[in-house]
């Protein structure tokens, strides 16, 4: 063991430096959300005034509730298709067109969001020409676009989890005469519940966070939270955005922590 560590004593320091790089900007952002000054960079004492202003900002509240609704809806659709897709990849072996299936799941994860957003708008626009729907691109359209994006991530987590689970329990259910659907719903899904929950949560946060896809597909009536944040950030820094960022970072961080304690997919979000 000591041989392994030889010459590698700097590694923990490199890791610590990496974490400082990843976390310091966010921690400073949180710190300055409690700053009693409009200037985002000069400390003028502790205050929660920006949180109070945030709560009074009706456009922000409206955008936040729209985004939360979209995220919940999108994550649920993504949860259904992602679970089926992850199951197919982990348990169904070499089904027909499997390489294409895997590729179509990979594409939304890696393709630049500008292409995804543009492509989804093109299809909603073509649909509108064809069947008259969606005439106004609002809640449902953004949610469907986000569900597409989220499906791949849910599938990734579910597949990773299934590979770590012994298939013999499911096989036993099938041997005992349960149909494939029954075995799936009564045996596989309960075993997968933590992975599905963490996939749902990831799809939820991805939707809540998305600026690019929503900007392409949303009509003039629908402004999501990231769209509103983006337009106000472009106008300049505002301590209110720091306060909002703090709320988001802490609540999502807690959710991520809880879900990682429960599911801990090995290799996490890796390929």
């Amino acid at each position: 063991m000591s041989g392994m560590q030889r010459g590698l004593s700097w590694l923990p320091a490199a890791l610590a430096a990496g974490f400082v790089f990843l976390y310091l900007p966010i921690l400073l952002l949180i710190l300055f959300s409690f700053n009693d000054s409009r200037l985002v960079t000069v400390w003028a004492g502790f205050s929660t005034r920006w949180y109070a202003e945030l709560l009074r900002n009706e456009r922000m509240i409206e955008a936040a509730s729209l985004s939360l609704g979209i995220a919940a809806f999108a994550a649920t659709i993504a949860g259904v298709f992602g679970t089926l897709a992850g199951y197919a990849l982990a348990r169904l072996g070499a089904f027909a067109l499997r390489p294409l299936f895997a590729l179509l799941l990979l594409v939304p994860m890696v393709l630049p969001e500008v292409i995804l957003g543009l492509s989804m708008l093109m299809s909603f626009s073509a649909l509108e020409r064809l069947i008259g729907w969606p005439a106004e691109r609002g809640f449902l359209v953004v949610a469907l676009a986000h569900a597409t994006y989220g499906t791949a991530f849910v599938a990734l987590i579910v597949e990773a989890r299934l590979r770590g689970l012994d298939p013999s329990v499911e096989e036993a259910a099938l041997d005992l005469g349960a149909g494939p659907l029954r075995a799936f719903l009564r045996v596989t899904v309960p075993m997968l519940a933590p992975a599905i929950a963490s996939g749902w949560l990831l799809a939820f946060t991805l939707s809540l966070d998305d600026l690019v896809i929503a900007s392409f597909v949303a009509g003039p009536g629908a402004t999501t939270l990231p769209m509103l944040v983006y337009s106000s950030v472009r106008l300049g820094l505002s301590p209110q955005i720091n306060a909002l960022a703090t709320v988001l970072v802490i609540s999502i961080g807690l959710l991520a922590y809880v879900s990682s304690r429960r599911a801990a997919p090995r290799g996490g979000l890796s390929t």
Binding site: G3, M4, G7, W10, P12, L15, G18, F21, Y23, I26, L28, L29, V40, T41, F81, L84, A85, Y87, A88, L92, P99, F101, A102, L103, L104, L106, V107, L111, P112, E113, V114, I115, L116, L118, S119, M120, M122, S123, L144, L174, P180, L181, L202, T205, D209, L211, P226, R234, L237, A245, G253, L255, A256, Y257, S260, R266, G267, G268, L269, T271
Partner: protein, 283 residues
Amino acid sequence: MSASWAARARTGFVAPVFLWLGLTVAAPLALVFAVSLGESTQGAPPFEWSLTLSNYALVFSDTLYIGAFANAARIAATSTAICLLIGYPMAYAIARAPENKRGFLLFLVILPFWTSFLIRVYAWMSLLRPTGLINSALQSVGLASEPLELIANEFAVHLGIVYAYLPFMVLPLYSTLERIEASLVEAAHDLGATPARAFWRVTFPLSLPGVAAGCLLVFIPATGEFVIPDLLGGPDTPMIGRVMWLEFFQNRDWPVACAIATLLAAALALPIVIADRLRAKAR
């Protein structure tokens, strides 16, 4: 369990997902290609179906677009290299950490990925501005007499990409490094290899699939990045993702935007297929 049952089960699970992926991934991408052959008009939607290559001719004849493609590829490549330099030691340190600590260390890598992308970029805006924290600190300790230009340039774009995509590099690296048998490295040491030699001759070659996967997962999305060049970048080095965005939202030229998207997707097709192969192999 008969074979036909298994086959029916397969159809039942696979068909709905295929239909969903076809409608939400394949068909939209095909439509982008179709619109890229169309003609821009004043109507709503602002194009007519056609079969013209004029949009591609425009993209190839204008140095703005070609330059933006080249900038994007170059900036994404250097950012990917920096990510690798920072991410490899991090992943290696986690893989060598005591087993009961690895889960928490990995969580610390993943957590930023869960926090808002936009907010992480915003955090750097407030650090890098002329009146930002870094400049105030440098000036107050006398290291700079006037604000340094830290934002609205290529430096800031690199920094933003490295910051935002570092977890994508660390995670696949970690999963390959974790699987490398410690006994192989120990054998190299026992046979008299210096730690550096053991690393470069044993560990590093075995980790190459993770290196490739991490690099592709950073390079592919970074090439088409919009938010980072838009908020941290300057006017001198436009990147193609942002150029396409402006083509769509400012010029309202859907066919040209679709032509750019098609070319970008085509350019990224090879890296994506390689990433897909690597992923299949990793199983």
